[in-house]
């Protein structure tokens, strides 16, 4: 595991780093279980969540968030494009990249645009994966070309998503 390029990381980064070191030796499940035990870092994690979810389907977002939280991640959800962009740009620019789960059809600004603006303003700050109703090649190609790690067509299987999140966040 190579994390040395992170010169001065914040508290959340440290926690995540520790957790990820842990995960390299033991299974993801162990890491998940280990996390809630220590209440102090958990609160720190909450201040800068592991996963940012942008989807206007608040019910679905709620269920995904519950699933990821049970699996030991902290999650923050946004339900509109512009709101999400402002919040994301306001996040600290240092520390570990965070996972952004993005829907394509969003009020105010579509997911592609949001993704591309973020990539310009904060290159490589976010690991981006799309969750979308749209199944066309055009959408998938655009998302992947702009740097998304995956494009999941809805309906999304939450157990599968959790495992994918595990691998995305322990990669690098």
């Amino acid at each position: 595991m190579c994390l040395d390029h992170e010169a001065g990381s914040d508290a959340a980064g440290d926690v995540a780093k520790a957790l990820m070191k842990n995960s390299s030796r033991t299974s993801v499940a162990d890491r998940r279980a280990a996390e809630p035990k220590d209440s102090e870092p958990r609160r720190a994690v909450r201040e800068a969540p592991d996963v940012l979810l942008v989807d206007d389907d608040t019910e679905l977002a709620g269920m995904i968030a519950f699933g990821l939280e049970s699996a030991g991640y902290s999650v923050k959800t946004y339900d509109s494009g512009p709101e999400a962009l402002i919040a994301l740009l306001a996040l600290p620019t240092r520390g570990l990249p965070r996972l952004l789960l993005l829907s394509v059809d969003l009020p105010g600004m579509d997911g592609h645009t949001l993704h591309e603006r973020l990539q310009t303003a904060r290159p490589a700050r976010f690991i981006v994966a799309f969750l979308s109703d749209r199944d066309s090649n055009t959408d998938q190609v655009r998302a992947l070309m702009a740097g998304a790690v995956d494009y999941l067509a809805k309906p999304v299987s939450i157990p599968v998503l959790i495992v994918k999140v595990d691998t995305w966040l322990s990669r690098d």
Binding site: A29, P155, V156
Partner: protein, 355 residues
């Protein structure tokens, strides 16, 4: 004594039948050859146009034109074969819009009113590729066709129509369909998850016979939408054990506090199948709070409940693992044996067995 003349008469009939069968055999052989050759010629002629469409050189104009020159049976067969291969959804939509007005399409679709089920099936299969809003009444009829192969083939066309009345009719008919068709239709409804969820929730609220409720709960599991899954939770206390087992199964996708709570309750159900499914759901939901319940379930009298409970503990991180380790020295020999079996299973096997 049977006389020779009678035998000769029987023999003559035989000779006639033998000659007739030989003629049939030769005719069938020739016909088969001709059909094979026509098919091959069609495949050759279509190769270029299919390539053009796949590579985005055109939007299916040349393919539609080539298909139009073929016999309607051959054209139908070829289009179906092209459609199931690697065309992207939007390419398929382009192509469908282009071929829909062709005479051969009309001819095959007209078979949808035929008395012969295989003609209706051909129409249903074609409809799955070319369907337009005007075909809605035909589709509605074919989806409820008494022949399962027709209803199954028509399923492919559901994706093209976000029509609430059609979706409601499908959902109402689910419990009457044979299993394979029901599963197919449920999966097809995932493309209209929003509309289907709304209708499903209304139907669940209205209740119904046990088999109807089961079909609806299965649909909720297939759709996987929060609304649909939440609506199944009240049925965890349904009087029919099969319904409860179906709910317990669906709960493994129900990532919300009420879902976890219901699964914990079902772990104490009177029916072992329900308990087994509930144990599995708790593992899938990463329900760490349910560890004490799962430890108790390790003493269940049924092998499958103990197995599912042990696997679930194995999926619940460190706390689960230590609960499983504790069970290896349990005073209940069945719990002990099961804990050892699951503890010693490789990770890959656990995964394989718990999904």
């Amino acid at each position: 004594m049977i006389n020779t003349v009678a035998l000769v008469v029987v023999g003559s009939f035989q000779a006639v039948f033998i000659v007739a069968t030989l003629v049939l055999l030769i005719a069938a052989h020739r016909h088969g050859r001709r059909e094979g050759a026509a098919d091959e010629a069609a495949v050759d002629a279509l190769r270029g146009p299919v390539r053009a469409l796949m590579l985005g050189e055109d939007h299916g104009e040349s393919l539609a034109a080539t298909l139009a020159q073929l016999d309607h049976v051959v054209a139908t067969r070829r289009l179906l074969s092209i459609a199931v291969s690697q065309l992207a959804p939007e390419q398929l939509r382009d192509l469908a819009a282009r071929v829909r007005p062709a005479a051969w399409v009309e001819r095959t679709l007209a078979g949808g009113a035929s008395r012969r089920w295989w003609k209706r099936m051909e129409a249903a299969r074609l409809l799955a590729v070319v369907n337009s809003p005007a075909d809605l009444p035909l589709l509605a009829r074919l989806l409820t066709d008494p022949h399962p192969a027709v209803a199954s083939a028509a399923t492919g066309a559901i994706a093209g129509h976000a029509d609430a009345a059609l979706i409601e009719a499908i959902i109402r008919g689910l419990s009457e369909q044979p299993t394979a068709v029901r599963l197919q239709q449920m999966r097809a409804l995932r493309t209209h998850a929003d509309v289907a969820t709304r209708i499903l929730v209304a139907q669940l609220d209205a209740g119904g016979r046990a088999d109807q409720v089961r079909a609806l709960v299965q649909l909720a599991e297939t759709l996987g939408t929060p609304g649909a899954l939440a609506a199944t939770v009240p049925f965890a206390s349904h009087g029919d054990a099969e319904v409860r087992a179906t709910v317990a199964r669906a709960l493994r996708l129900c990532f919300m506090p009420a879902g976890v709570e219901a699964a914990r309750r079902l772990l104490a159900d009177t029916d072992w199948r329900v308990r087994a499914a509930a144990a599995r759901a708790l593992g899938g939901l990463s329900a760490v709070d349910a560890i004490p319940d799962l430890r108790a379930a390790m003493r269940d009298e049924w092998w499958w409940v103990r197995f599912r409970a042990a696997l679930a503990l194995g999926a619940l991180g460190e706390d689960g693992a230590s609960a499983l380790a504790a069970a290896t020295s349990s005073d209940d020999e069945f719990a002990r044996d099961m804990a050892v079996v699951v503890r010693d299973l490789p990770e890959s096997a656990r995964l394989e067995l718990s999904t």
